[in-house]
Symmetry: C2
């Protein structure tokens, strides 16, 4: 029997502070950066790249954390499980999450490794190139997965990025089982094409074993998952195995296949795209927010598109505008 959920969404994700600088394509080439992708970097490379890059702004990030920030702004009750260190960036991350109204109670680990950060280079085409030093994030322990907390969330939301480290991976596997034992939905984002390449077998196993109820992907990720260049085929193949599949397609909008039924929305208009960081995260925030409200799936997609459009209109991956007002204006 499923008891009433205290939280709409409980998420497990990386605790990351984004360090955002403008850069041109020449800089990306010189630094041999993988444009548009998320690349994991170690402490030495993080130091060197930071040294080489321009003046930056620091804004809290982390994929699942961004999604919760969006969902919270849309009125959802959320809790986050993530690992910071006992340092100033950890304080920044914790402050910003809590200031958004999200419950976050995982105590910081020691001073080392420091809180994770993502060095983001935004090119004049608004594309973001991410270089992540996971730091403390990779030590998120299964012991931090509070059974009662997972059981009390209508949706458990997980980011694929977290699969890159052993302990958080174990934490997520454990959380999935707790969620399902308590009749909760499990939502998962494939995060990044290269992330899918690194963990394809694991992700396929999660899907085939019925561990995931809702899956978020973009075009590159779903094609990588199915090892095909045929987008339609990749969607068809994956949709058969999952209750709700959402695929975002940048300026082409997004599609969903829910219990075998397909629908699509266009992208929302944006006056000027400044920084695409967080577009996928905020799409998930909007979709899940509508899903929790039991709105029709096309409306869930539209809310996702509204939230994504807001976040790409400024630097940083957390919403700055009143998303609830934007949704009300659009959908009533």
């Amino acid at each position: 029997m499923t008891s009433e959920a205290r939280y709409d969404i409980v998420a497990i994700g990386n605790a990351i502070v984004d360090v955002i600088a403008q850069a041109d394509d020449v800089f990306l080439e010189e630094e041999q950066l993988n444009k548009g992708a998320m690349t994991l970097i170690d402490a030495d490379r993080a130091k060197q790249l930071y040294n080489d890059m321009g003046t930056a702004r620091e804004v809290s990030g982390g994929s699942a954390a961004n999604t919760l920030a969006g969902a919270s702004t849309l009125g959802r009750q959320c809790a986050l499980i993530a690992q910071v260190a006992d340092d100033q960036l950890g304080e920044v991350f914790s402050h910003d999450i809590r200031a958004t109204g999200i419950d976050f109670d995982v105590p910081p680990i020691g001073k080392q490794p420091p809180t994770g950060r993502c060095l983001i280079l935004v090119t004049p085409d608004a594309q973001r190139t991410m270089n992540t030093f996971l730091g403390a994030s990779q030590f998120l322990s299964p012991a931090s997965v509070d059974t009662a907390l997972i059981a009390s969330g209508a949706i458990l939301y997980l980011e694929g990025y977290l699969w890159d480290a052993a302990e958080p991976k174990a934490a997520m596997a454990q959380a999935i089982d707790i969620a399902h034992e308590n009749g909760r939905k499990v939502a998962f984002t494939l995060s990044d094409g290269f992330c899918v390449e690194r963990h394809r077998d694991d992700f396929i196993a999660l899907i085939q074993d019925g561990k995931l109820d809702i899956l978020f992907a973009n075009e590159a990720e779903i094609k990588s998952l199915c090892e095909t260049e045929d987008f339609e085929a990749a969607v068809e193949q994956t949709a058969k195995q999952i209750e709700t599949l959402i695929v975002t397609r940048s300026e082409k909008g997004a599609i969903a296949v829910h219990q075998g039924e397909s629908c699509a929305v266009d992208a929302e208009p944006v006056e000027k795209v400044i920084d695409t960081t967080g577009a996928g995260d905020l799409f998930a925030a909007g979709f899940l927010s509508g899903y929790i409200e039991q709105r029709p799936i096309p409306d869930c997609l539209t809310i996702g598109a509204i939230a994504a459009a807001e976040v790409i209109s400024h630097y940083g991956a957390r919403p700055e505008a009143d998303l609830t007002a934007l949704v009300k204006q659009r959908l009533g």
Copy 2:
């Protein structure tokens, strides 16, 4: 005899990271904040206020540091003397200053007190209310004033804010003498009306003793300095005692009185004012940049107005656009 200057501007200022959040007037009232002013706060109050305020972005700040960032963007050679701690915010401040092309060689002090920060609340009217925890900044020592460095800068630039702590005050007094012994100009900003209230006698003594060649003020500051509500009288009285006086007047533009000759410029148009933090700092950057180039004083004012207009069109007190291009477009 004055040797050729290696630097255009050498500045002594607070090393501050700005922590910028949106807030409404109700929040300012609840927290009993002094709207539009800079208030010094201690560690406990900084913790409590940070806890209460919303999601923030972190951007390097510090008044003189902002001015140098602007001047550097305008092609000037600059060096900064300021004190950070050995912590992550200190790394952020140091990185951003150096990434702007400014020489900054003062080694961090220990971990405590931490690097200074300014909790800035930006209200919907774009007004900023600043709450500064000086931290390591108040321990900038006279020992950090490198005589050769001061001697090698055409202009020594000092912020009035630094007068709030004993050691930096002594450092500035020492630097002024070194600059003048080497035939350099000394520029000073009064920083803030309340800062002038705290140190009026000292500031008046600096002026009367001929320690300052160039003085920057806004309307509130110069009126506070002269303890009068009569703006014209305050300008007249002060201009008599200083070679170059510049007074910024927000949307009313700015005036200068240089060797007894007055001139004025209008404010540059701004599409939408977002955050007025740094307007005065960037005005000084633009003015001094033109001054170094030996442009006519009205053009120096115009460059100041262009730099100020850029910085108030976005969050944060450092320029984001190519100021040199903006000046070229406007003045050729």
